[in-house]
Symmetry: C2
Subunit: 373 residues, 2 copies
């Protein structure tokens, strides 16, 4: 028996249950375990949000302190992982590098059973920024950086390793808020891929590896890179308006706008846009933010499209001095909390995720030996 | 709008269309692009089947010759991949090693656009057996094997690299037939994961990496390893009968039996069982096959369960001298043809695969600062 509906892309199909977040549910907006994303992005640090997703409640001070200390103590890379990263060329896409780092760590520090799942989740949260920064510097300059830093948060730690200097409080806070916005988003494609992987009772590393490979695509996390490439084509707002109109007339897809689930607005966009504006002012930027706003206006006017999180994340990350190719990897750092929480949730009430397909191929046909073909 | 049905695990939900295979469709049995699996396993070599899946028709002799030559010429590993494999310890699970090899190759030889997809698919088919054998020998003995062999087929090549000697014609043929059986199976979990990854327009390596990580689980490809572990617990058929009855009374799940889609029988099981019987006789085996048959009888009698492909694949692989931990990786070698064909099919008519979820978490609740928790 199969239920045949118009299910292309499983749009609107309920594929399971979750207690992690509401996306586009009437009246709720976007919440993580009941807390609004606006509150979390403004009042909590990313590590509180990661704890909330993994363990179910916001941490008390002692819990948060212990969590931060555990993460800080696990930032260093095993020697074999450094050796693996050193083999990956500068030309490699950083998402491919993170995917490989995750997979290789699964060989070095395997998850022996589901009893290990929180340990592995915390290790991955701690190590991804270090792994990316290590490879980034080694591939470009041959410099083997120290992956320790005095920074207590992931945001500060990554900025410190990337730039080699202590970040400003505002930069730290901006990146931290973006991590909160990126941390979790229900059954998006990468999270769903991670749950499909977990549903065969495979290990945490395999599930997160699936998540990274899926996030990489331009219809998902890769959108923030593509948004930046678009914005950077233009020298001022009027130029942007002309360029976007031309692109639309050529039916080009503009990345960073619209959403499978949201219909009118992405609640995350307002938060990241405000950060982009603040960073723009602090940077004395005269064009990048104005160009971004104009692109938003044109798409709203011409196509009734609204920006999603990826669009203003692009300019915000540029103001933080982050190279475009590292934008989607930053999404990985944050979403690892959501992916891991979904794997844990999937395992708690597992059923193999195995849909079926409509067959549209040739009818049964007789085999012909190769000499008769 | 969401369609809320009893969709746990998406059982019976049509998630898309395929022209690649029929699984459990009335009257058709299992076919690959219209050809019955029984015909293909008996009359074709695996490379003909891989060509059929990738390119749509059975190859003519000249096409097959050129395909075999291309695959043979691409078996060697890049130096950086050898260096990566050399970092992965003997204790690593070979599935984690293959997952990492696939991901690392994506850094070294990226797919620049969908125009590369057939090149990448062929490269992966050619290189996986070499990569696994290279790591297997290096991790155990420090021996850096030559990954070239004079064997024209993947089955012969892998047996040659594994054992270091030319395989017998019967061993070659048995492994080859098992590859055909494992090559493709509609929207199973690993193929579905690969399609979810591909649906964000991510690259072929990411999709295949998702496939490997998903296949690894004991509810999917990992079942053949678990079946072998079960069979090897017993010294004779009566012992097996007692052991299985005990396991059933403890509600233990027996791997290698039953199937999400098939209701009465797995058409692949008859073929692999016959190979297991032939190899058993050739090996002068007195127990292993008999134990396997008794386990089948007990599960049929007690639970009305039938063996799936994984059950007799286990003993067949044992007769070929293949270590248990390499069973699921052999599944990867073959299924790479199916995964790649599905990625190509997904891309040809892509829609992002993004379902939705029923929210069962806390109601919206006010944020409380950490000092008030």
């Amino acid at each position: 028996m199969s239920i045949s509906t118009n299910t292309a892309g499983l749009a609107g199909i309920v594929a399971g249950q979750t207690a992690l977040s509401t996306v586009g549910k009437e009246g709720a907006g976007l919440t993580y375990r009941g807390y609004s994303i606006e509150d979390l992005a403004e009042h909590a640090i990313f590590e509180e949000v990661a704890w909330l997703l993994l363990y179910g409640e916001l941490p008390k001070q002692l819990e948060l302190d212990a969590f931060l200390a555990r993460l800080q103590s696990q930032r260093d890379l095993p020697a074999q992982l450094k050796a693996v990263l050193a083999q990956l060329p500068e030309s490699a896409h950083p998402m491919d590098v993170l995917r490989t780092a995750c997979s290789a760590l699964g060989c070095l520090e395997p998850e022996h059973s589901a009893a290990d799942q929180f340990r592995v989740a915390e290790r991955l949260l701690a190590i991804f920024p270090s792994a990316l920064a290590y490879w980034h510097h080694f591939a470009r300059s041959g410099n083997r950086i120290d992956t320790e830093s005095p920074e207590p948060t992931m945001a500060g730690h990554f900025l410190h390793l990337l730039h080699g200097v202590q970040p400003s409080a505002e930069h730290r806070r901006a990146l931290d808020a973006s991590f909160t916005l990126y941390a979790e988003h229900e059954f998006n494609a990468s999270t769903f891929a991670a749950r499909v992987t977990a549903s065969t009772l495979s290990d945490m590393y395999s599930a997160i590896t699936s998540g990274i490979g899926t996030l990489r695509g331009p219809l998902h996390g890769g959108a923030n890179e593509q948004a930046m490439e678009l914005i950077e084509r233009f020298t001022d707002p009027d130029h942007a308006e002309q360029g976007v109109l031309t692109a639309l007339s050529r039916k080009e897809k503009i990345m960073g706008f619209g959403h499978r689930v949201y219909r009118d607005r992405d609640p995350r966009s307002d938060v990241i846009k405000e950060w982009s504006r603040r960073l723009s002012q602090a940077a004395g930027d005269a064009q990048l933010f104005a160009i971004s706003e104009r692109i938003e206006q044109v798409l709203r006017r011409e196509k009734k499209l609204f920006p999603n999180l990826d669009f203003y994340a692009a300019s915000a990350y540029r103001f933080l001095g982050i190279p475009t190719l590292l934008f989607t990897p930053l999404f990985v750092f944050a979403r690892t909390a959501g992916w891991a929480a979904h794997v844990i949730e999937q395992r708690a009430d597992n059923r193999l995720i195995r849909p079926t397909a409509d067959y549209i191929g040739p009818s049964t046909r007789p085999f012909r030996p190769i000499v008769q073909r």
